[in-house]
């Protein structure tokens, strides 16, 4: 790595970390969550970056270098279809296979009566979450894994061989990607590790959203017990993937804990207690959590404000960014807030005006990172993304 690139990396890391600690860096850092947009920019199809993660890595590096961003995720098209196919996962629809080649991958939820976890299995999950996943859940979600007690098969055995080897290869690839981002363009890898809220896990991959909603009324104590049982494991997995240097945060992908998916009382009772316990546990170990708060979480801001100072970075999707800043800005860094529809259909002038409004209203004392509201897919207009980047570079100097 050249000395100039190493110096650039050090400057960007300091800028990014300073903002995340809710302090004032030299200028507003730019850390766009760009997913399928990278394929569009680099000349790949969405199928190519979803199936071939080396192309996804290459596309992310090209964007990082060309746009001169401070930090990016090594591959935001994270759900690698090759691994999904190796395991035979039924809940994933791939571009170019079940979907058109230029459609992002999709998660499928089965009908309520075919949910991956049945409504009478809460006790089994709570008693032994890892055992339940291995013995009950995996054979259901995989087309190849045989249920316990049933004859095994070549496909069963291959699922574990291929799945394990492929996962190792993929995750090791992220380490190489981080090094290449650093050495080739001086770009920081924005996050490390993964976390989801226990209730989101129940909705996303176990009971399904509709089934879980019924359970909230029919067997609320079982749901609470399951969340409590999942929490220590989710903490363990998040900490296991966290940045050993404790610079960059763990990504928390928040799905359906906000209005209208849950009411505020349901959020308070079911969603927040175990998530709070995990986030505080990670902070006690020195790890920040980045709340990728997909949707409008304005009704929940008061709860997030109870967390220890600097424990999180709050990423704004459809929440009111100025309200988020008023409620959380004294304690936490804010990121995001540039609407994706504006980036897709607005003009560069519209984008610059929006960025100015956000920087003026949220970033005056530091503690802000420029980004779109939601992860950017292929509908983002490249010219508008460049306008967001260039304007922030020029106007976001302290």
């Amino acid at each position: 790595m050249s000395a100039a690139t190493e110096t650039l990396y050090a400057q960007r890391l300091k800028r990014y970390v300073t903002a995340m600690r809710n302090e004032k860096p030299d200028r507003v850092p730019i850390r766009p969550f760009v997913a399928e947009l990278t394929a569009k920019y680099a000349g790949y199809t969405i199928q190519e970056v979803t199936q071939d993660y080396q192309k996804a890595f290459a596309a992310a590096r090209k964007c990082a270098a060309d746009f001169d961003w401070d930090a990016v995720v090594g591959n935001m098209v994270y759900g690698w279809a090759g691994l999904v196919q190796a395991i035979g996962l039924r809940y994933y629809a791939s571009p170019g296979v079940e979907l058109p080649p230029d459609t992002p991958f999709q998660y499928l939820e089965p009908p309520e009566d075919e949910a991956w976890m049945r409504p009478d299995e809460y006790d089994a999950l709570a008693e032994d979450p890892t055992g339940y996943l291995l013995s009950v859940w995996l054979p259901r979600v995989s087309a190849d894994v045989s249920p316990l007690g049933q004859p095994t098969s070549l496909r069963n055995n291959l699922s574990f061989l291929k799945g394990g080897m492929a996962m190792l290869q993929y995750f090791q690839g992220f380490g190489t990607q981080a090094e290449r981002l650093r050495s080739e363009s001086g770009t920081v890898s924005a996050i490390s590790g993964i976390l989801k809220a226990p209730l989101d896990i129940l909705a996303d991959k176990l009971r399904g959203y509709k089934g879980l909603c019924a359970d909230l009324f029919r067997q609320p104590e079982k749901v609470l017990a399951a969340c409590a049982a999942l929490a220590p494991h989710l903490l363990e997995v998040a900490a296991g993937g966290a940045d050993p240097q404790k610079n960059v945060p763990i990504g928390l992908w928040m799905h359906r804990g906000c209005v209208p998916f849950l009411s505020p009382p349901q959020f308070e009772k079911f969603y927040w207690p175990t998530l709070r316990w995990i986030v505080e546990g990670l902070w006690a170990r020195g790890h920040q959590t980045l709340f990728y708060a997909e949707g409008d979480w304005t009704a929940s801001l008061q709860y997030f404000a109870e967390l220890p100072e600097r424990a999180i970075v709050f990423h704004v999707d459809r929440s009111d960014i100025f309200e988020a800043h008023r409620t959380l800005g004294e304690k936490f860094c804010i990121s995001g807030g540039v609407p994706n529809d504006l980036l897709a259909f607005g003009t560069p002038e519209d984008v610059r005006a929006c960025c100015k409004k956000i920087i003026d209203g949220v970033a005056r004392q530091g503690g802000y990172i420029m980004d779109a509201s939601a992860i950017m897919q292929d509908d983002t207009n490249i010219e508008n993304l460049r306008a967001m980047t260039d304007f922030t570079r020029e106007y976001g100097v302290y």
């Binding site: 994270y78 759900g79 690698w80 691994l83 999904v84 395991i87 996962l89 994933y92 008693e127 032994d128 979450p129 890892t130 055992g131 996943l133 291995l134 859940w137 995996l138 799945g163 394990g164 996962m167 993964i194 976390l195 989801k196 896990i201 991959k205 409590a228 049982a229 929490a231 220590p232 494991h233 989710l234 903490l235 363990e236 997995v237 296991g240 207690p273 175990t274 316990w277």
Partner: protein, 56 residues
């Protein structure tokens, strides 16, 4: 808050060392080394299933 941990398999574990140890003959060398390596590799299996749940 999560008072109870999973009673049979704590975080990071698929097959507890204590369970595996009972299946093994007397260890003539360094038992701690055997235990550490067992736990490290068992932890990879734990990460596998939880990463499938979380990431894919």
């Amino acid at each position: 808050m999560p008072e109870q941990d999973t009673r049979r398999r704590p975080p990071g574990v698929c097959i507890p060392w204590e369970e595996k140890r009972k299946e093994m003959p007397a260890i003539r060398g360094d038992e701690q080394l055997v235990e550490r390596v067992w736990k490290d590799i068992d932890g990879l299996a734990y990460m596998y299933i939880w990463q499938v749940l979380l990431s894919f």
